[in-house]
């Protein structure tokens, strides 16, 4: 009864089976057979202008829709163009499936036209990758790929489809179980009850606990559980760059972003805490600063679905391998149980009043602050105003100063409204990711905060957006510089600006926007900001680009110099800190302060002691 189909038809049908409704891609020789049955499929195809755009669109699409983004590219240059977003998705654990054309099986390995060694290339930047050798394998491999991409620690999966395989006929079938041929893949979802008990015991003796919430909580859809847990225990939460919005910034217990450019209270409360309840976060060097000086008094509860993260950077006193949402729920239940017991015993709860007071003192003393101006346009001011006009927007950011300003000065009130390239820091991420985000959630307003440098890497996707009728709004914080690099040259290289000036006035962004079918505006002065944003908000039939000419000399503060301890945080001129005072702190980083930018001592990261968690991972065990 079964129908015979070509490999290409089987592929498209398999994508329909796993509920794919949109793919981002661009055709070419090796993938041509796949594009033909696409014409009959209900799956929407967004035709990009560069394959890097397709990859970032798939990432943006995931964040707003919760579904893995799918990319279709051809062999050789199509494949290599998508390497950057795939690596980005791998670093940020974003589920993605790449369908990549390949030269015919017989030509593979012969340096054929448009052959790239994609199996080898993809191997080290994906969760898993495949080369399909027979059309009958396609359903199984597609089912597996989506299962792998979306379960456990999510990530990109890459499928190479040689041209002869997509032309080959086979019988249609569909696997009943995507895991049937995955004997080596058993992610641990449920937390170990004994470890949960130990974690709550530790929490109940802690005087200065902090919840360190990372992107894993969002991946696990654990924002609600997190809020419940924080409220139940009264413990304050820092939200990493990947997790902004996982707890609303308005929430009394939310301390905002920690790390190199985190706010004073988030950085310092982690630093002084005696217990870090780490949820789906990975002690990235941008969070810890000098590892050996990071939160020296803190014990660590570390919950992650990836066992390899536990004790990788910092020894975990209580390691828990689990899905973050399941683990938080288990912590809540266990906490309530231990609370009841405590009350039955008539014991007093731990008194954390002094700690809470300390946190509040830091908060009122060091709120996010910048040197305001009536004459020059400050990037932070633009963000504040934008936040007033579009508080519920999905904010998609590029990489650089503007990214840090956005994360610092935007009030995130809900999860999944902040999309950025965290682990990889990929310039050019924002415009295509925003387009993908809009496809994933068409009702939401999507704003891009981009740098002039980043914008120039991928703006051509606005043409894609115009042609496809996907409307996004772009605010370029145009400082005329590769600003973040310039900041480092200011601080560590005695203001010797080497190859960071972009031009500022070239290109003409208004003209460029119009040429791409978008509306374009330019803002030079603070008083024009509100009018233009309001105008942009009223345009619904096109994308909008606003060229905000912001102060090129602005620096991102607070700042912990790379390699310095998080105790050495520079709060900046808004707090009356002088350059001399800055210089003293800068000299403690590994680059030293300009002008003696010789590079100081590297922070040698010693492997932590053995944590003993690996026995928990035996895959043969349930």
């Amino acid at each position: 009864m079964s129908e015979r189909l070509t490999g290409a038809q089987i592929l498209i049908k398999s994508l329909e089976m796993v509920d794919v409704d949109v793919v981002f891609g661009l055709p070419g020789g090796a993938i041509l057979p796949v594009y033909d049955p696409l014409l009959e499929s209900p799956i929407r195809h967004v035709l990009v202008r560069h394959e890097q755009g397709a990859g970032h669109m798939a990432q943006g699409y995931y964040w707003t829709s919760g579904k893995p983004g799918v990319v279709v590219v051809t062999s050789g240059p199509g494949a290599t163009n998508v390497i950057t977003p795939v690596a980005d998705a791998y670093m940020d654990s974003v589920p993605m499936v790449v369908i990549c054309g390949q030269v015919a099986t017989a030509a593979m390995g012969t340096d054929a036209f448009q052959e790239a060694p994609t199996f080898n290339l993809a191997m080290s930047i994906t969760k898993h990758n495949y080369v399909i050798s027979d059309a009958c394998e396609i359903p199984q491999i597609v089912a597996e790929a989506f299962h792998l991409a979306t379960t456990g620690r999510p990530g990109p999966v890459w499928i190479d489809l040689p041209k002869d395989v997509s032309g080959m006929e086979a019988e249609w079938w569909w696997p009943s179980d995507p895991t049937a041929c995955l004997p080596g893949y058993k992610p641990r979802i449920k937390p170990h009850p004994r470890q949960v008990k130990r974690a709550v015991e530790l929490l109940n003796t802690s005087q200065r606990p902090i919840i360190y919430a990372g992107g894993g909580v969002l991946k696990a859809r654990g924002a609600q559980a997190l809020q419940e847990f924080a409220e139940l225990t009264g413990i304050h939460v820092v939200t990493t760059l990947m997790a902004r919005g996982v707890l609303s910034d308005d929430h009394e217990l939310c301390l905002g972003m920690p790390g190199m450019h985190g706010n004073y209270t988030a950085v310092t409360s982690m630093q002084k805490s005696d217990l870090l309840i780490t949820l789906g976060a990975r002690f990235d060097d941008r969070v810890t600063g000098k590892v050996s000086a990071f939160a020296p008094d803190a014990k660590i509860i570390h919950i992650d679905i990836d066992p390899a993260e536990l004790s990788k950077v910092r020894y975990a006193d209580v390691p828990i391998v689990a899905d973050a949402n399941r683990a938080i729920e288990a912590l809540i239940v266990e906490y309530q149980k231990q609370e009841r017991r405590r009350q039955e015993r008539g014991d007093a709860p731990v008194d954390r009043a002094a700690w809470v007071e300390q946190i509040n003192t830091w908060r009122s003393r060091y709120p996010m602050k910048y040197v305001e101006s009536d004459e020059v346009l400050k990037p932070q001011f633009v963000l504040e105003r934008l936040g007033q006009h579009a508080p519920d927007a999905v904010l998609v950011s590029g990489v650089g100063q503007h990214q840090m300003f956005a994360s610092q000065h935007w009030k995130f009130s809900a999860p999944y409204r902040w999309i950025n390239s965290g682990g990889m820091g990929t310039m050019g991420f924002a415009v295509p990711a925003a387009i993908g985000a809009k496809v994933g959630s068409p009702e939401q307003t999507v704003w891009v905060i981009d740098g002039d440098g980043c914008f120039q890497m991928t703006f051509q996707e606005l043409i894609t957006a115009a042609v496809e009728g996907i409307h996004v709004k772009v605010a370029i914080l145009n400082n005329g510089y590769l600003g973040l690099v310039r900041q480092w040259q200011d601080l560590f290289y005695d203001e010797r600006h080497s190859e960071v000036h972009l031009g500022g006035a070239i290109p003409d962004y208004v003209g460029l926007a119009e040429a791409m079918g978008c509306a374009g505006f330019r803002v030079d002065a603070p008083e024009e900001v509100d009018t233009v944003i309001a105008k942009a908000m009223s345009i619904h039939d096109r994308s909008v680009v606003i060229d905000f000419r912001v102060d090129p000399t602005e620096h991102v503060f607070p700042m912990v110099p790379a390699g310095a301890s998080n105790d050495d945080i520079i709060v900046g001129p808004a707090y009356g800190q002088t350059e001399e005072e800055e210089r003293v702190i800068l000299s403690k980083g590994k680059f030293g302060a300009a002008p003696m930018a010789q590079g100081g001592q590297e922070d040698t990261v010693l492997p932590p002691e053995r944590s003993g968690v690996h026995f928990e991972m035996d895959k043969k065990e349930d």
Binding site: S124, K127, P183, G184, D306, P307, A308, R610, V613, K619
Partner: protein, 169 residues
Amino acid sequence: MAQSSSLKTLSVLVENQPGVLARIAGLIARRNYNIESLAVGPTEEPHFSRMTLVVDQDQTHIEQIIKQLYKLVNVLKITEFDPAEAVERELMLIKVSVLPERRYEVLQLGEIYGAKIADVGACGVTLEISGTPEKLDDLLALCEPYGVLEVARTGRVGLERNEKRASLI
């Protein structure tokens, strides 16, 4: 290659699929792990292969290697053991430069170590020996004075002992 107590053996059971060796080698290279030897071969089950990695734990964080290897979808099981808890063997071919008049001395050495004669020529002899890596080291050292022309070693393979005790079978 003197035996030092800091060596650990990892026996890695993997799916017998194309590219698995490349995945493991790639992971080791990318994460800068220090591997003493790596041997690959089939197992009792045709779907699976076994890779034996010897790692110097003074130079590498073994727990991280194990966890990163486990992240590979094709890796099923990793067993970690000390040389004392395992049976470990290695095969070596050693080509010794020796003229016919002194050949007997080399052959006698080989005999003491249970080596086989794999090949004989006018100017040399090739011995084949399997055993613990230390035993191979010893024979190699004794052949050194004659002139060792070439050596090929497989790297060690190992299995955990049936009973965990310090028996020497």
